[in-house]
Symmetry: C2
Subunit: 451 residues, 2 copies
């Protein structure tokens, strides 16, 4: 499967072939690469929306070019089957589904635990699924944001996702601090530019003594940049700060090695690259080193109580070791079923590191074609492969709203973020090189028409 | 529909008919009442588990006698249809399902809000669906458990559900208090007896000055007693305490008038009497008087931000008024779909107060037959109709485990709670008088065999 990066790695040679019929920007070239794509069969595992009747460039009723896996992943076809299995169990056993049959609900979270741990590079002990992303951020700040007199600040990246920003501000306020004073935002060097990982590390080095918690996005939702998590974690720990990572845009997108990188906690949602459906269950990592700590406060609930005697209905709380000890309520069975459908595909495909090879090639291809075909386009996302996931964030030379609407009309699903950025995220599990080729060809055409 | 309580109200007269062929404990009598039951058609709206092949008293493959709606409600048949609609939208529109078509996901919580508010007797402003029960208890304690120097205690009922107990203990610990000192448990007058609402009111009156929060179950999960919420709330407020109610066993079971009763908050799950499936979404009430308060701390997230500019991605948090302002994350669409399927049935049936008439009759019938047919049985739940929901908690004159297993074998689904209690909860939406009649007949038989 290392064919793909090779093919694209040597872009200069291919580029020299120019824009000829079989040049890199041609339909034929893209189709040829698709033929060699070892992951191409997974495309048929997903439900693609169809292009509408109003399309004039693309074929009506053809598959959309779907580049919004960073917002809501496509539906794995198995999801319906897995859901129906759980509905059947509910119909057939009622409450006894908790204990009877395959995958009894009482341990439904364990049907996704190992896969989830693999996807984030963690030990199963370190991972649980529960609640939703913002809720988990708060629940993790209970043990890991412990402000003290001279160390009470939280460091985040400027333009963090609003919910994260609002969450940390409300935590600061809850503890009696003014976010104006207690929130440290790492800025880009120039307005609108990227925030450099080294600047985050640098800020932690300079001000670490004041910082109780560093909370950083793994892959930044707006710019698509993949921060240097290991260096951030290392510096934070050197300076005595706790570190949490919001992996919403990283999980299922870039290879993660949470255990080795060592953040204290991480939280994510599963409806983006993990394709588990709108608003579905969140995930949570708590590093092994905290697995058996009894000195950390937590908001406790019966589902976090050790398993052996959870139903004795005794009152004393004895947490399960690891992330599971932070669970509160009995888990949502239907959401776990859809998540399992999706995670199994990741495992079957060989995991995120395997998929990453295709992902790098796909995004490089997108980048290359954009630079060839769309003069004036600005790619906000870093050019270095190691500092990005699959998403490219684009600034267009023309009015973005018009472009967006025309693309939508042609069955091309991307998204825009205020004020001026278009996000395009080709996913290795279900996007093809032809998807990318068609997208750029049409984008170029639309932009020149709008001009 | 007032036929039913009448029929049973005059139990003495009917009782006089004795145990004859058409007496009150006969199959014929139960079938006659079922014929007159105005809610009987709703029974066909639910999926009943079937009795197993190993049954010897009951017909194999017949409908189970399902009395576990207090633990997991039966599946509304519409649930599958409603779920499939959302899966279809996901397949057809991908991420655009958030804004397109009927019931766009961006406001999916609003598709259940009015029904949910009706079921708990609240204004729509006061209600939201989000997270799960224990998580919501914690999130509500952020604004409503505000310990101060001389007022930091939490009052609960002895033998509250373990998760509630663990939640309040962890809140106390989080704020630096020792539960041994800071938790006030209202005890029954004698060991194993009921806790009287008047004793709760009394404890609040005596110790209210020390109490920051009163957290009480609406209907107690173990005993089935329905506490006198209005009196508890009134005394708590007289003494300057906040009050929260755990409605897990009350919602969809007993008529609630949360707005008028005036607790500060309430939380519930929807998988019991509200039939929304294992581990499904929780509900939350915040009284109107707090709807626009800015002085209460909260754990904030983007979904609680006012709707008009939630997607401007600006950072400043301006909460939606009311309960919606406490939402954190984009809501789980599949869970909302199942909940909507179930809530619509409640609304179509005329709401909980209408169903309560049948519920009172059904439970009185159960009580009457038990006392006639099962010598030595002890009914823990209060005899006064106003102080209980549909559930009766029973202590049997023989080994409970054996009885439980034999019943299970006969397709009779009840549950047991350590150490010695059997809970039986006939639900007016899907249980019949014949269910109750058969249950008691078989229970009597099983107990005399075990003896
Ligand atoms: C009274 C009560 N409170 C809390 C809970 C815990 O619910 P969850 O697991 O949804 O948080 C239950 C569950 O049965 C309950 O009955
Ligand atoms: C980086 C990031 N953080 C937080 C959130 C909020 O997620 P949720 O609504 O699941 O809490 C999102 C949602 O898109 C996100 O992209």
């Amino acid at each position: 499967s290392s064919l793909l990066p090779d093919l694209l790695g040597d872009t200069k040679a291919i580029d020299a072939a120019g824009n000829s019929e079989n040049g890199i920007s041609s339909k034929e070239f893209a189709m040829e690469v698709d033929q060699k794509d070892p992951f191409r069969k997974y495309r048929d595992e997903f439900e693609f929306p169809e292009t509408g009747e109003e399309a004039t460039i693309r074929e009506p009723k053809s598959r959309t070019l779907y580049f919004c896996g960073n917002s809501l992943g496509l539906q794995p076809k198995r999801a319906r089957e897995y859901l129906n299995e759980e509905l059947d169990k509910w119909a057939t056993y009622g409450v006894e589904g908790h204990f009877k049959t395959v995958r009894p609900w009482v341990t439904v979270d364990e049907t996704v635990k190992d896969q989830m741990a693999a996807v984030v590079g963690a030990k199963p002990l370190e991972v649980t699924v529960m609640n939703s992303l913002t809720a988990n951020l708060h629940l993790m700040m209970v043990p890991f944001y412990r402000p003290e007199k001279s160390r009470f600040k939280i460091l985040i990246e400027e333009k963090a996702f609003p919910s994260d920003y609002q969450a940390v501000c409300s935590q600061l306020q809850f503890h009696g601090y003014d976010p104006e004073e207690a929130l440290i935002k790492v800025q880009p060097r120039e307005d609108g530019a990227l925030i450099l990982s080294e600047d985050i590390v640098d800020a932690i080095e300079r001000r670490g003594d004041e910082i109780a918690l560093v909370l950083i996005g793994g892959v930044q939702y707006y710019t698509g940049q993949f921060f240097d998590i290991p260096s951030i974690v290392q510096m934070a720990h050197n300076k005595g700060c706790n570190v949490g990572i919001d992996l919403a845009h990283a999980v299922g997108n870039v290879p993660l090695e949470l255990h080795d990188w060592g953040p204290d906690f991480a939280c994510w949602c599963t409806y983006k690259y993990l394709n588990s459906g709108p608003g579905s269950i969140g995930g949570c990592f708590v590093h092994e080193k905290h697995a058996n700590r009894t000195d950390l406060p937590r908001f406790a609930g019966w589902w976090g109580h050790q398993k052996d005697d959870r139903f004795k209905m005794e009152h004393k709380f004895v947490p399960s070791p690891g992330a599971a000890g932070y669970q509160l309520s009995n888990p949502p069975v239907l959401e776990c079923a859809v998540l399992r459908a999706s995670l199994n595909l990741f495992i079957e495909a060989g995991g995120v590191p395997a998929l990453r090879e295709k992902s790098l090639a796909l995004t490089s291809y997108l980048e290359l074609l954009l630079s060839m075909k769309v003069p004036g386009i600005q790619i906000v996302t870093p050019a270095e492969r190691h500092y990005r996931g699959c998403q490219l964030s684009l600034r267009l030379p023309v009015n973005i709203k018009k472009v967006y609407e025309t693309l939508q009309n042609e069955g091309i699903i991307v998204d825009t973020r205020e004020p001026d950025t278009m996000r395009v995220a080709p996913c290795p599990l279900y996007n093809s090189f032809s998807d990318v080729q068609q997208f750029v060809e049409i984008l170029a055409q639309v932009i020149s028409n709008v001009k």
